[in-house]
């Protein structure tokens, strides 16, 4: 893969230049670190990973599927904005990959339109940015259009895709040739491989799953903070003046609440917290793999960091005998 170089002193200038042609989204440090549209390139913050995942930019928290007036349906025009995302870590790049699989397979026009003209520029973690990280325990791949590797006074930039090639051509003034090599070892993030068991398929009946559950509040912070969780529900909202008119809306939902499996007649299939907790972990580390050959989980650790009672499923799995 082609390796280029960018001097750090030209970095902000580069982002300013990107901003003139594209909407630029990158992590900023407000109350917490989050991805935001960048007004000032100097706001870009790369010390820590974003507290919130990036998924809302593609798989929106709320999406209007269509508007209706009686039985007449109108799908809103789908925007295909050209956006450059800078500073996406390896975990989140892979999370995008996994959601790409889900929404490409289901031919989701809303997701695809958000993704179509989006450029993904990654930022490699030289060390695990949080104590909860375990991306090294999962088989993550390169998925950025451009990947930035931080090297003291410069960045090495790996061109990953055609889209990435387009960006370096367009902003060629900011990139120089490099003889450097980015080896497999360079891509390993130290201190991020704490999940010891890779196959949990035989552990379903293990009594230790209960360990986490007593503390669970069913608050669903874990699933909303997860960069890969993609469950949703669909409901109609009508206008107060004219109940014939309204919108059908898709929004994120969470398998951690009872209502997730509640059917007409009020029967709930996963009534117990333990069943719901296990369902989440198994979807992440087993079910998705059965269908798609890869784990859904990317090891960002956000579900653990966001949990108000700090249920650490990695520790629970590691301690299972």
């Amino acid at each position: 893969m082609r390796i280029l170089k960018q001097e750090k002193k030209r970095f902000f200038e580069f982002l300013d230049s990107v901003k003139q042609s594209y909407e630029l989204v990158a992590p900023v440090n407000r109350d917490l670190v989050r991805f935001e549209k960048i007004e000032n390139a100097r706001d870009v913050y790369l010390e820590k990973n974003s507290y919130f995942p990036i998924k809302d930019y593609f798989f929106r928290k709320q999406e209007v599927l269509f508007k209706f007036n009686g039985n007449k349906i109108k799908v809103p025009a789908l925007k295909e904005e050209a956006r450059v995302f800078f500073g996406i870590r390896k975990c989140d790049l892979n999370a995008i990959r996994h959601q790409d699989i889900v929404f490409e397979n289901s031919n989701d026009p809303y997701y695809k339109s958000q993704r179509k003209n989006s450029y993904l520029i990654g930022y490699h973690c030289n060390a695990a940015p949080s104590p909860f990280c375990f991306c090294g325990s999962l088989e993550l791949v390169d998925y950025a259009d451009l990947m930035f590797y931080d090297r003291q006074d410069h960045f090495l930039v790996e061109v990953g895709t055609e889209k990435g090639e387009h960006l370096v051509r367009k902003f060629r003034n900011f990139f120089g040739e490099s003889e450097a090599v980015i080896s497999k070892d360079d891509k390993i993030i130290p201190g991020a491989d704490r999940l010891e068991k890779k196959d949990i398929s035989k552990l379903y009946e293990h009594p230790d799953w209960k360990k986490g559950v007593d503390l669970c509040l069913s608050c669903s912070a874990c699933t909303s903070m997860c960069p890969t969780c993609y469950c949703f529900d669909i409901h109609d909202e009508v206008s107060a003046e004219n109940t014939q008119k309204g919108e059908r809306i898709r929004q994120w939902s969470s398998c951690q609440v009872q209502e997730f499996t509640k059917v007409a007649g009020n029967h709930i299939f996963r009534k117990k917290r333990e069943e719901r907790f296990k369902h989440r972990i198994y979807h992440q580390l087993d079910y998705f793999k059965q269908k798609n050959g890869i784990n859904l989980c990317v090891g960002c650790g956000r579900c653990i960091e966001a949990c108000p009672t700090r249920i650490d499923f990695v520790e629970i799995i590691n301690e299972m005998k």
Binding site: N107, D236, A264, D286
Partner: protein
């Protein structure tokens, strides 16, 4: 069939169809006939919409290229809104979805059809299917259980079924001692237990409340049925119906794509998963 999503079609958008007939079956159930010309298998379902109320997955209970019949019980917002429809109204539908009963592969067998309450609806799809291909299958046994005589659905069709097939009907309670299709008081499980059924060249199709399906499978096993001779139709909450929203997931399987009809050995170990 119905599984290939066309690349140009927005999979969330339903299309309008004309209601041909509304028929009240019991106090809280009705059957809609809709002019929707689609190829489908028994056991498959469609997503039916009333804008402003939402969508509901409803199984197809007919076998025709010209229309579909939907038997619906009024239990939620959408189904109560559907109950207000009448002939010539328009209804929004997308589908068909899911994997139905593998009728082709089961040609030449004797069929045991066991349904409870509105679980009889998808099974009626099989009965209509057999009706159109009577020579492909041998003996047909029907075991239909309802809570009370008032809850019996498909009364119009049952008279014919009684003549053509080995049919047994039970009601949990017959409080007013109503006369009704020779329905015995008791559970369908008792009728099944007392029957002389064995597993010889037979397959069983089940649909009903989870507790009924559990006991019925136990009895079938006692009568010698193997796991792969039993097919059950599962019910789950679902929104998308094409394997994305995850609400209908049972362990790693999607009820909407891998089901709703499962061969018993595929899901027998699953409890509240």
């Amino acid at each position: 069939m119905g599984k290939e999503i066309k690349k140009t079609v927005n999979p969330f958008v339903p299309r309008p169809y004309k209601v041909l007939d509304f028929h009240r079956e019991s106090t809280d159930t009705f059957t809609l006939t809709v002019k929707m010309k689609i190829q489908h298998e028994p056991g498959q379902f469609v997503q039916v919409s009333i804008p402003g109320y939402g969508e509901s997955p409803i199984s197809i209970c007919s076998d025709s290229r010209d229309y579909i019949k939907l038997n619906i019980r009024e239990v939620g917002n959408v189904t109560r809104a559907l109950a207000k429809l009448k002939a010539n109204d328009t209804i929004l539908i997308r589908g068909p979805y899911g994997k139905g009963y593998p009728m082709q592969a089961l040609k030449g067998n004797n069929l045991v059809i066991i349904g409870g309450g509105c679980g009889v609806a998808p099974l009626k799809g099989i009965i209509d299917y057999i009706e159109n291909r009577r020579n492909d299958y041998k003996d047909v046994y029907l075991f239909l259980g309802y809570r009370s005589p008032d809850d019996i659905i498909f009364k119009r069709e049952m008279e014919e079924w009684g003549k053509k097939y080995n049919m047994q009907v039970t009601v949990d309670k017959n409080q007013h001692s109503q006369v009704c299709y020779d329905a015995k008081e008791g559970f369908i499980t008792d009728a099944l237990k007392n029957s002389k059924l064995n597993n010889e060249n037979k397959v069983a199709f089940l649909c009903g409340p989870p507790i009924m399906m559990k006991y019925v499978t136990d009895i079938l096993k006692q009568k010698g049925f193997h796991d792969d001779q039993i097919f059950i139709s599962a019910e789950r909450l679902m929104y998308c119906a094409f394997g994305v929203c995850c609400h209908c997931m049972i362990r790693g399987k999607f009820t909407c794509v891998d089901g709703p009809v499962f061969r018993y050995d595929e899901i027998k170990d699953f409890k509240n998963d």
